[in-house]
Amino acid sequence: MATRTAPAARRTRPTTDRVPGVVIAGATCAVLFFAIPLLGLVWRAPWSAAWDVLSTPEARTALRLSIQTSLSATAIALVLGVPLAWVQARVAYPGRRVVRALVLLPMVLPPVVGGVALLLALGRHGLVGQYLDHVGVHLPFHFGGAVLAETFVAMPFLVLTVEAAFRSTDRRFEDAARTLGASRLSVFRRVTLPMIRPSLVAGALLCWARALGEFGATITFAGNAPGKTQTLPLFVYVTLEGANSDAAIILSLVLVAVSLAVLVALRDRWLTAL
């Protein structure tokens, strides 16, 4: 195996010892476990019907809506998540660990529970939602509800990735810029952000992929309204149950393809640098 850099070679040097059979067996099963469901999709896919499925107005609507909601969620996550990541990485304040747990929670929480929590907070009779309703902001069954559900579940991926990057940047560049008279905001914008750009892109991609795949929180909080909250995963679920399982399989494969594309985009980060 050719190695590109010396440190990488040291870390990933293949073992020359004999690997115990039971380890190989376990590893083989794990690989099969991941591979077989994908083969199942490919095996049952009605390839000849693929174009017909993708050109139905319902599927187009769900696809368009998924792109819109997931990009909106990613945009919100960038606007709110980057400052949060910066604070978490750079500011020592009491309660920082509590905030960190709060940020991590949506990653480990069942998304349906997240949806219920959002409903109780932002639903029409919710803690905050009752006031939103008065000023004409409606979230359940509306586009904004789907975006918020996705943001809730996906933003932690961005915050964690970017926070790690803020921690590992070399502060001397920022200090130098400050001594040369740059304002704090200018340093952040022109020195810090460019330095963490790879992590920013990776975090945004991860966040977007998670938002695109969101199901549980969306259906619980935002409902299943075609054109408003029925994103691709909801559409897949509903059509699988209805008359058209072909559409469900084809659209599942679309989501698999998108997920693979995200992995390829992040390949330098994940597929080689392990």
């Binding site: 020359t16 004999r18 690997v19 059979g21 039971v22 190989i24 067996a25 376990g26 083989t28 099963c29 099969l32 476990f33 409903l119 109780l120 639903g123 029409r124 009779h125 359940p140 069954f141 259906i219 409902g223 299943n224 309204a225 075609p226 909250t229 029925q230 679920y237 509903v238 699988l240 149950e241 209805g242 008359a243 399982s245």
Partner: protein, 271 residues
Amino acid sequence: MFHASRRTLASIAVCCTLVAAACGSSSKSSSSSSSTASAATAGAKLTGSLNVFAAASLTAAFTDYKKTLEAQNPGLSITNDFAGSQALVTQIENGAPADVFASADMKNMQKLVDKGLVGTPQIFAKNKLEIAVAPGNPKHITSLADLEQSGIVFVLEDPSVPAGNYARQAFQKAGLPAPKPASNELDVKSAIAKIESGDADATIVYVTDVTAAGSKVEGVAIPENQNVIATYPIAVVKATKNPAAAQGYVDGLVNGPGRQALEARGFLPPS
């Protein structure tokens, strides 16, 4: 480089068998009882385990029936799985270990009949539609036509859900345009949950769902000439490992304690 020894290959085989066994464990549980139940005849005690897949609107009645039947047959263990009929059909088509299937419409049952997956269905109950609103009817909804007024958040079940299909038929019978609900919920329970949480003002469910929700929702009757009668068929799933108990369950529902449980929950008799 590793050397794949015979032991390695054996380990792989064992491991894969374990994975397969884990995946199939749910179906194994029902097979363990097959031999004991096969001897059961009419009047004899039902034994073994039964997986009953039933429309979400049957939740209360079937839960009552399960308790009665299990009390009468100490060797019987029933597991109920409630969901939209269309979801259950998909699961059974893909090999879910159901012994009995009860649908809220003939359409979904017919899909399984056509595929030869179930025996002959028997109609065991009927139901009517009703508008469900918040207690006190704050939005003063009195008819189907009121549901589509502006300012009313109105949800419905997806057209693939029996109740959603029936409700759209009711709009048609009332001479109204096809409804455009704020959300297409996946079964009657989630539709009525939206009324209970206050996020929707109205939905259409079965009369029995309004009864089951108690004081959390209020029903607004739909006139007979606009209403649609829901027909509930039940059938034994052909792949069952416990056919005697499955048939016993169906018999008890058509003419026995199940009938009483259904009537107590407001279902109409089958004919």
